[in-house]
Symmetry: C2
Subunit: 187 residues, 2 copies
DNA sequence: TGTTCTTGACAAACAGTGTTCGTTAGCTAT
DNA sequence: ATAGCTAACGAACACTGTTTGTCAAGAACA
């Protein structure tokens, strides 16, 4: 996905780049199509597997992994307003799970939006932390590590803690969102 | 920011593109520098203005507006691991606010990360909804509006509700995050 | 059968992009 | 005076998405 271009797609199809414009209006549209195709892989656990909360978490984790598996795809999820059939399917499933948790439908609508936005953003962050630019990461760690204890006591006290946790941090964030959504009625 | 290129920057400085590489290693590095400079505009409310919660929300809203004011900048915030002085300042301020709310420092570290990630993602979403591609938005609205009531009853029942709320939705999401963070201890 | 009309396909060109290379000018230190 | 270093710059490389004009095949209609 990162490094995908119309010319490469065309070459793989043994044709020229301009020929693709018959089927696709735009590069962005191609991106959206690829995204929705990948979203077809997202598995939503069946009804009898655990309670709604763990099923919701499993579905979102599956969504996150599908995005993370293709470098650059998470950015696409943040750059387009997805409306493909697989995205509709997933949205409907998440709405259903939240309603099983006793949530009103209008609040569930905003909650699904929030959960998907966060999961996409998290996948994107994980994505561009890997490989891409080890230099920037090391520079950031140094910049935050060697900070004056007087001016920034909290950051100094935390140290490397600011970059800790990969999977556990995602799990925690998901719990934060679900708890928050349950405890915050819509205005 | 969208449409910013090394050549245009160089032209504005009456020089060639290659000359910029003396001061900047990369386009990404230039982006990071621009981001941190803009982050200097973020206002963090003084100690005596209201309680910690409303001050936290005001600071994050200021961060969000600073990103949204420049098209494309929110994407930059999601694509880099920011480590400039202004970002350090903001992080320290947010950590302090959360600690005033009685939160342990290690939980506050993850909370700040989550709050900033969400706010950046929200700004990015708002950003590419505007102007950019009205076609995609209308297509999404049509795709979700004309969905079969049998296969996707929840989405059908919601209708245009899925795209409602701009400012109120952000305020709600912020409350969700703060409530969630307060109610979810670190593992 | 002959003639339009439409659709898919493609090469070439346009207007850009980030980045690298080789070379110059100016300013110190030795 | 010589050497070394830094900033600067033009040109080129290897790409990118998109538009334009042209061409062939098939369908619809007379």
């Amino acid at each position: 996905m990162a490094g995908l271009s119309l010319r490469k797609v065309a070459a793989a199809l043994d044709t020229g780049a301009a020929s693709l414009y018959v089927y696709v209006a735009n590069l962005d549209e191609l991106h959206a199509l690829v995204l929705d195709r990948v979203l077809g892989e997202v598995v939503t656990p069946p009804q009898q597997d655990g309670d709604w909360r763990s099923r919701l978490k499993a579905a979102l984790r599956s969504y996150s992994e599908a995005l993370y598996a293709r470098p650059g795809l998470a950015q696409v999820a943040l750059s387009t307003i997805p409306s493909g059939p697989n995205m509709v399917e997933l949205t409907e499933c998440l709405l259903d799970l939240l309603q099983q948790g006793g949530m009103e439908l209008d609040r569930a609508a905003w909650a699904v939006d929030l959960l998907l936005l966060h999961t996409s953003a998290f996948a994107a962050e994980r994505d561009n932390r890997r490989g891409d630019d080890k230099v920037a990461l090391r520079r950031a760690q140094e910049a935050l590590g060697s900070v004056s204890p007087e001016k920034h006591p909290h950051i100094h006290a935390l140290g490397a803690e600011l970059f800790s946790g990969e999977q556990s941090r995602y799990d925690w964030a998901l719990d934060v969102l679900i708890n928050g959504v349950l405890n915050t009625p819509r205005p």
